[in-house]
Symmetry: C2
Subunit: 430 residues, 2 copies
């Protein structure tokens, strides 16, 4: 059973703070192993990839090949159910349209002094996309990570995905093709991250690595950060649902469980102003859990991390919502827009009774790679901006240098940087 | 003497690759010490700050106070030379105007199906700004870090700056006031980062930490990343100058030395198509070094990391420029614009003979916090975007859910996530 927190009770603040501070991730100490793996890939290249894949994935890449061939992708596409491929295409197209609107505009202008300034955006040249193997090998995540790169104009989108015991989700290959992935390699774990960062005989290095992975992958990404760019380190998923009592408790329960089935460390939270409704949702969750195929995962998540927060007034609960800073926030209430201005910290907001978060996971068009573990306080979901970078441009003529130079010389002097001052003074004969 | 690389020589590619791979940072192993410092600040709060400041900065904060008072800032402003304050104001205003143009626009729209989508930007609520003490305590860096936060609308901008032996650069306080910094604390090192991330009795925690620091500060930022956001980990500064033979060798030498005087690990590189001009610049560098106050630092930087790259043709050297991916790129050539389209990787570009990089350090208006160590391949300079975050918005009615729901259910089924499917199906009676 999820915990119940009542705002009316005197120890609410203490309990709410403790709830916020709960860590949901088991921190495995894998750093030493990862350092060794990266070192070997850097020094031995493909041979290390072959060795680690044999050991960890029980597959002989010397025989099967590190690269996945175009023929293998063709076969995956041919074997995929038509309905699934059509749904992936719909998702791809909607993600593409939405992300096109995120393309930043270059800006070049001349200020009143005649100084030319500018900001110019260019795509990162090459990006590596990590895709987990096994049960968390989701084609939807391939689309969410790869389509924005395609929209940004990244030339080389390189995917790595482990193939434990030779198994590979063919839909992941289908999604990769739909999203314009240019190369795919059947390697995973820290060794795949090392290969993307430093390159091997087969895999040319990339400039940035994105995508979710296990503790080894996350530790490897932290280690190679600097040599390449990385995206955020994603934690377990979470949903926060603000719901009034006019909702069908079964709908809200279904949404809580959609989150809980992801992972035993996932978190589902309901905020409501009606205790009877809250109890009805709890009962509906218990009922639905009985028929759910992934009931074991969902039950553990709901038991260990689920929460029902009872407040006097939904609108007055917005400060709590902002402190939780959820990855996903559903506002299932009459006139949901009235809450919108008060929500400051959330990865994505789903408005109204007919916008279950699951639509955002697949076909809404917005990105499902979102900040977890309260990081929506300071970071954003994945977007085209993660695949571009900005260069500043500055251009002065002699008149502009005469106008601004003396102030630069003054500041250089104040900072004790004489050579800085010289580089301006020498041009002005000062 | 800097190294000279000639593109015409057969081993150029090997030597250039080795040059690119040169590490300029001494990696100190400070991680264990930093972990201990963070732990103590988390458990002991202000008492740990007082203890570490006594030990590392030889100052008694129990007596002087952790917070810098408004009266102390008033005194700093009163003591500052008028010309310096005026120059700081000019810099502040120009940075403010330029960064205003970077404010991202919210986007809310309805697609052809009637689905409402949106991206909404909000300021991060609180930001911590680290400012180094001692000789690298630069007021210009305070402006560069704080003004974009002010433009973004960050409410709490908290500055920390160590005060070794009780000394503090008063201009840093002046710059903080000009840039709207709301709180200042005289603590530094890993202990200041821990205080910003976790809070103490005196210092309330922030959501994100920015600003340069030494190896301890950098290691502490890496460790608290996740609990708070961090900016990039800045390395030593660098400049790459593309210059034709029509430049005054002394001007170009002055620009190379402005970079070299920063740090013995700073790097200054000249690319030119004229060997005689290259030699003239080298001679001018040696000559100017003799009168430079910071000649020791600048000489070591030029000797160990300086480089002159001789190419047949400047335009054809753009692939080398993009591989170097310099923090600062000067294009000191006739019609510098013609090179612009070919430059892909650079933190900032300075065009023409009258735009020394130093203008960008102080009063150009663009930001001087830029990606170092080749990271311009995948990252951007500091901007307003570093102080805001984006929330996605999605809103469907029953008709839109009918249109998109079946595809979501199909993908949920394909991914084995039945509860995901249920949360859509239950609303459509499917």
């Amino acid at each position: 059973m999820a915990i119940v927190l009542r705002q009316s009770e005197p120890d609410f603040e203490t309990r709410f703070s403790a709830f916020l501070a709960t860590k949901r991730e088991v921190s495995e100490d894998v750093d030493r192993a990862v350092a060794e793996i990266i070192h070997r890939v850097r020094t031995e290249g493909d041979a290390a990839l072959i060795d680690y894949s044999q050991r960890f994935d029980r597959i002989d890449l010397a025989q099967h090949g590190i690269a996945i061939t175009s023929a293998e992708i063709d076969a995956a596409v041919a074997s995929a159910p038509v309905a699934t491929v059509e749904a992936l295409k719909l998702a791809r197209d909607r993600i593409h349209s939405h992300h096109l609107r995120q393309m930043p505009q270059d800006d070049r202008y001349t200020d009143p002094l005649g100084v030319e300034l500018g900001s110019r955006w260019t795509a990162i040249e090459s990006v590596g996309l990590y895709v987990p193997g096994g049960t968390a090998s989701y084609p939807s995540s391939v689309l969410m990570n790869a389509v924005p790169a395609q929209v940004a104009g990244v030339e080389r989108v390189v995917m790595v995905v482990p193939s434990p015991d030779g198994k590979l989700n063919p839909l992941v290959l289908v999604a990769a093709r739909l999203a314009g992935v240019s190369e795919i390699y059947r390697v995973g774990g820290a060794q795949a991250i090392a290969a993307l960062a430093y390159g091997t005989g087969t895999i040319a290095p990339v400039a940035k690595i994105v995508g979710p992975g296990n503790a080894y992958v996350a530790a490897a990404k932290r280690r190679v950060f600097g040599t390449v760019g990385i995206d955020m380190i994603a934690g377990p998923s979470e949903v926060l649902i603000m719901a009034d009592s006019d909702n069908d408790p079964d709908w809200i329960a279904a949404d809580l469980l959609a989150q809980a089935e992801h992972d035993t460390a996932a978190q589902s939270i309901l905020i409501t102003d009606d205790e009877a409704f809250g109890n009805a949702v709890i009962a509906a969750v218990e009922r639905q859990l009985q028929t759910l195929p992934r009931t074991e995962t969902a039950s553990a998540s709901w038991r260990d991390y689920g929460a029902v927060i009872l407040v006097q007034d939904l609108e007055a609960s917005l400060p709590l919502v902002n402190r939780i800073a959820a990855e996903h926030l559903e506002i299932a209430a009459a006139d949901p827009e009235r809450f919108l201005a008060g929500v400051r910290n959330a990865g994505a907001i789903f408005l109204g009774r007919y916008t279950p978060e699951v639509i955002g996971d697949y076909v809404g068009g917005s990105n499902h790679v979102l900040p977890t573990a309260r990081s929506a306080r300071f970071s954003s979901g994945l977007s085209v901006l993660d695949y571009v970078k900005r260069t500043s441009i500055l251009k002065l003529g002699v008149e502009q240098l005469r106008a601004l130079g003396p102030a630069a010389i003054e500041l250089a002097r104040a900072e004790g940087l004489d050579a800085h001052g010289n580089s301006v003074a020498i041009r002005l004969n000062l």
